[in-house]
Subunit: 592 residues, 2 copies
């Protein structure tokens, strides 16, 4: 059963984002179309042979906490080691670090393939990469030498240990303590962490937690948070480090990945090693956030893609009903893909998932430019990426709850049963608006921080990019109406934004009360822009006489769908955003 | 933990729908405020003491097919009998039939309480009522005497056996055969039925299937479908009737209710008894459909209500973060209900579930009027109910997938775990856009049939009802802006409808291609109207000096929410509905 479209991935990377441009930079100079294709082929191999076959089985056989240790699906042992041995965890790192200097964009594309095949299994290496990246970027050489090699080779699991019972969205309120010892950089850690993905499991030999804690006496709030490496077993003596698995969470979806509740230092003997400087922990985390958040957007888009492909395959094969104009019941039934309403639900999924992918790869390429470009190019890429990150995280996360729902709907009663994977995709999609910052948090980030930073410079860059695409589209006859429509909506979005900014200083609570809606509003504008860009690419390919007319016509239809059915949603959202009725601020708890 | 609001249910029934008006009709003359309250109290008792306590456990311990028999949760035996013995199954039927002549509206309200407490458990009696209703309405006295007493007392389960492997949405294609025997009205049945809710289980002594089948030689299509009673065991000899349980479906939610795959007549010895006349089976079913479909809308609204109440209780207690204007991290955290974005998600749930309830009870009362009124009143109630039924089924079904999602979001990571019931509500909500006719089917029903019937008379009645509410609202100062807004949207909806009707004869496929969107569009208009009605009731109560100011202010805020955040969605939908881009018709399968 197909779980992604190879053809579309090629389109996204090579035709639309023109990822080969990156090979002009020194860091990527050894790479080429061939090396990129080899990476994607290798990812496809693993996905098809190892990951996808376990999709259902990992859902049905959840991890269990047995005798203080989490036991995961037997098949994960091989998979975790394979991710390490084949170099997936540190592929983007430098040759000196044992990496392959692979662009983030291609690495993310490989991740997309893994996630579409089996999201739970993809979580393990994703987390190890993130944790190792923190150590290699901010840690001492000693920390790097001690911990990263076995993370790279897949023997050790990495985690991000942030959340606590009283500190979820409010990281300010972290209370895990770090008490200095006689050894420099070595602290005793005490506290508990909840919802720690891959926080303990038996498919690895050690778990390396990248943990936020507060050094005794540190300032209150976010300015007193430090980052520590806290291994489950000490290195090199392999003795337990007083990090106990207190519980395991059972959850609605992505059941194959274990989520742990950890007690640290219950016996007063958990050692943690300070990463970088004291009290800079949160800023280190945030420097890695953009990547992690674009990654979560990709998780959602990948699950949405798998659900789309699954419902598409079903719709092509399932006969039911006849054309509306056919009244003769003795005529054979037609495949449901011929019904307009089913095509609508498929186009919804196609336009939204491929639109999201387009944005995600655009952001990934910006991430590569931030890494390898210089001067103004680097600075602008960085600003634009900062602005787009809450959108790239949230748009796919929110909308793929709806696209997976459409996939279930296409299968009807069958879609609600466990006989088909769409119900699992529906459950798995639902985590993404929650983790790596809820949608509400990202709304505040976009409206309260990103659009206003550097006096709105990022927002100007964003508008300039959209205008660039509009100008190119206006040169192509068939795209002129779409370019003009986007131009109109861009202007309206700017007016809406300015209207809101007017409230920023007078009444911050009112200003931010509909930040989630603003995020949705700008999200739709952003994906419309990405579709115009994809439309240009498709149009040009057809103009050049490409024989793949089906594929490119499908692209143009999906663009039309997005403009006809999705872009217009900005009308209602925009009306609400400029309304003066501050009812969500005014509402009181006791009135519910 | 609260799963519904008693106060709101009182408001809906007695203040808003003025259900006591029904007691002026002879059929209901023995009833009063007191008898209605007793019924509601009795339902609450069962829900609190028997149903809600099993909510989670029935989800975790699914029915299993063991040795050809489905074994359900042990607790269901007592519940199923209690529903029977306490008279819930036939409460609306006449005294002569052993019923209580209870209005459908109050019966539905009791059902709402059961469904909000534990949806799976509520399915059992709901189906028995529907099946018994078919027998008593269309069956011979002999069938009535043979089958209904043990259905009423809860010993026997009733089912609706429609769906087949090749006939889901397309009932035209039913192929289960009925072969006449020597005995009049007795047929041999052969075929298979899938997705039969409560099609077999061990909490009853017999299962009475109301089954659609085609009498040998009957015309093709819907005109050749007949209705049969097919018991699992023959009556009175209690011998097996060759109805075998071939399989059980495992599904995403409402796992406590068993869904069976049945083989009928594999050994050529399944007896079925014709209900009413041959070839009229589908029309009999459809005469019962309105009730069943309003019932499904209520299922969805009940689950949405339970999720709302659950997330509301959590939001009041969970401290996290501080006011946007509070920068001092040493200040205590505040309950999340004080954050505007959380209030927005709660108001969304409140406005949508209470708006849906208002429509559902309006429809239920129409159902009662159809039953007991006469002449023009009856005729108009019937027409209006026909028109509103696809909306009353679909609006709650679709939107409660989103409100249960909002409930999960409010709980954040906790909401995704099985530690709280919201994830279960999210899974259980998802069935309703599928069963009793998918959303696509209801879209076609509304646009292709209902709005055009009797030259648009139902649509005129609908508009007249809305205008009546608008006129009343215009007499109340604070409601004038809302009345004017609704008036404007009503006019636009009429224009949009006429625009679409213009296409009906030229090109039916284009006319109906966005029928699902039209249903959504009219659904929002309908709920806005219901909110204006609730606003009037609340406004009048406050004007009269009611001391319950919190409750009524909450009502007015929820109305404001609906007008500010939901009604405006008609803008984008309306734009699409009048667009000439027929892309979902034009799209081809091979372009995906």
């Amino acid at each position: 059963m197909p779980f992604y479209s190879k053809r579309d991935l090629q389109f996204q990377l090579f035709e639309n984002q023109k990822v080969l441009e990156l090979t002009c930079f020194k860091y990527f100079e050894d790479h080429s179309q061939e090396t990129f294709q080899m990476v994607l082929e290798a990812a496809d191999q693993i996905a098809v042979t190892s990951l996808f076959p376990l999709l259902t089985d990992m859902d049905r056989n959840e991890p269990q906490l047995i005798g203080g240790k989490i036991k995961v699906h037997e098949g994960m042992k091989k998979i975790v080691r394979q991710f390490g041995q084949d170099g997936w965890i540190n592929a983007t790192f430098s040759y000196e670090e044992g990496g392959q200097q692979l662009p983030n964009t291609i690495h993310l594309a490989a991740g997309f393939i893994f996630q579409a095949a089996n999201y739970s299994s993809s979580v393990y290496p994703f987390l190890t990469t993130g944790a190792a990246n923190l150590i290699r970027t901010f840690g001492s050489q000693q920390l790097i030498d001690t911990f990263t090699p076995n993370m790279y080779n897949g023997k050790w699991q990495g985690t991000m240990a942030l959340t606590e019972p009283d500190a979820g969205s409010s990281l300010t309120d972290l209370s895990t303590m770090a008490i200095p010892t006689e050894k420099e950089g070595v602290f005793k850690i005490q506290g508990q962490k909840i919802y720690i993905s891959c926080g303990d499991h038996d498919a690895c030999e050690n778990v390396i937690h990248l943990m936020l804690a507060r050094i005794k006496g540190a300032p209150a709030g976010v300015k007193g948070i430090s980052l520590f490496v806290v291994p489950q077993k000490r290195v090199p003596d392999n003795e337990p480090n007083d990090v106990l698995t207190e519980g395991i969470y059972h959850k609605m979806g992505y059941k194959g990945a274990p989520i742990a509740h950890l007690m640290i230092g219950s016996n007063d003997s958990a050692e943690g090693y300070l990463v970088g400087e004291a009290n800079k922990g949160l800023s280190y985390m945030f420097q890695m956030m953009n990547e992690a958040r674009v990654g979560v957007g990709m998780n959602a888009a990948a699950i949405g893609t798998a659900a789309f492909q699954s419902s598409l395959a079903y719709a092509k094969e399932r006969p039911q009903g006849r054309k509306i104009t056919e009244k003769d019941p003795s005529k054979p039934q037609i495949p449901i893909i011929e019904h307009a309403d089913v095509k609508r639900m498929l186009l919804f999924q196609k336009s939204v998932t491929e639109g999201a992918l387009s944005l995600l790869f655009f952001c990934a390429k910006l991430g590569d430019l931030v890494h390898v470009a210089e001067g103004k190019e680097k600075e602008e890429a960085s600003l634009l990426l900062d602005l787009l990150t809450p959108i790239a995280k949230t748009y796919p996360s929110e909308i793929c709850c709806l696209t997976t729902s459409a996939a279930v709907q296409i299968l009807g009663g069958a879609g609600y049963t466990t006989d088909f994977p769409v119900e699992q995709y529906y459950r798995e999609a639902r985590i993404h608006p929650i983790h790596e910052g809820t949608t509400g948090i990202h709304g505040l980030d976009l409206l309260g921080r990103k659009v206003l930073m550097q006096e709105g410079k990022a927002l100007q860059l964003f508008a300039a990019e959209i205008i660039k695409t509009i100008s190119s589209a206006k040169k192509l006859n068939h795209l002129i109406p779409f370019a003009e429509k986007l131009e109109k909506y861009l202007q309206r979005a700017q007016q809406t934004s300015f209207h809101l900014f007017g409230k920023a200083s007078q009444n911050p609570e009112e200003f931010l009360s509909d930040a989630s809606l603003y995020l949705e509003y700008i999200g739709i504008l952003t994906i419309s822009w990405q579709w115009l860009s994809q439309g240009i690419t498709a149009h040009e390919a057809l103009d050049k006489g490409s024989p793949e007319t089906d594929f490119y016509k499908g692209k143009l239809m999906a663009m039309r769908y997005f403009f006809e059915y999705e872009l217009v949603k900005m009308d209602g959202l925009g009306k609400r955003l400029v309304s003066d009725d501050m009812l969500t601020v005014e509402m009181k708890g006791e009135w519910f």
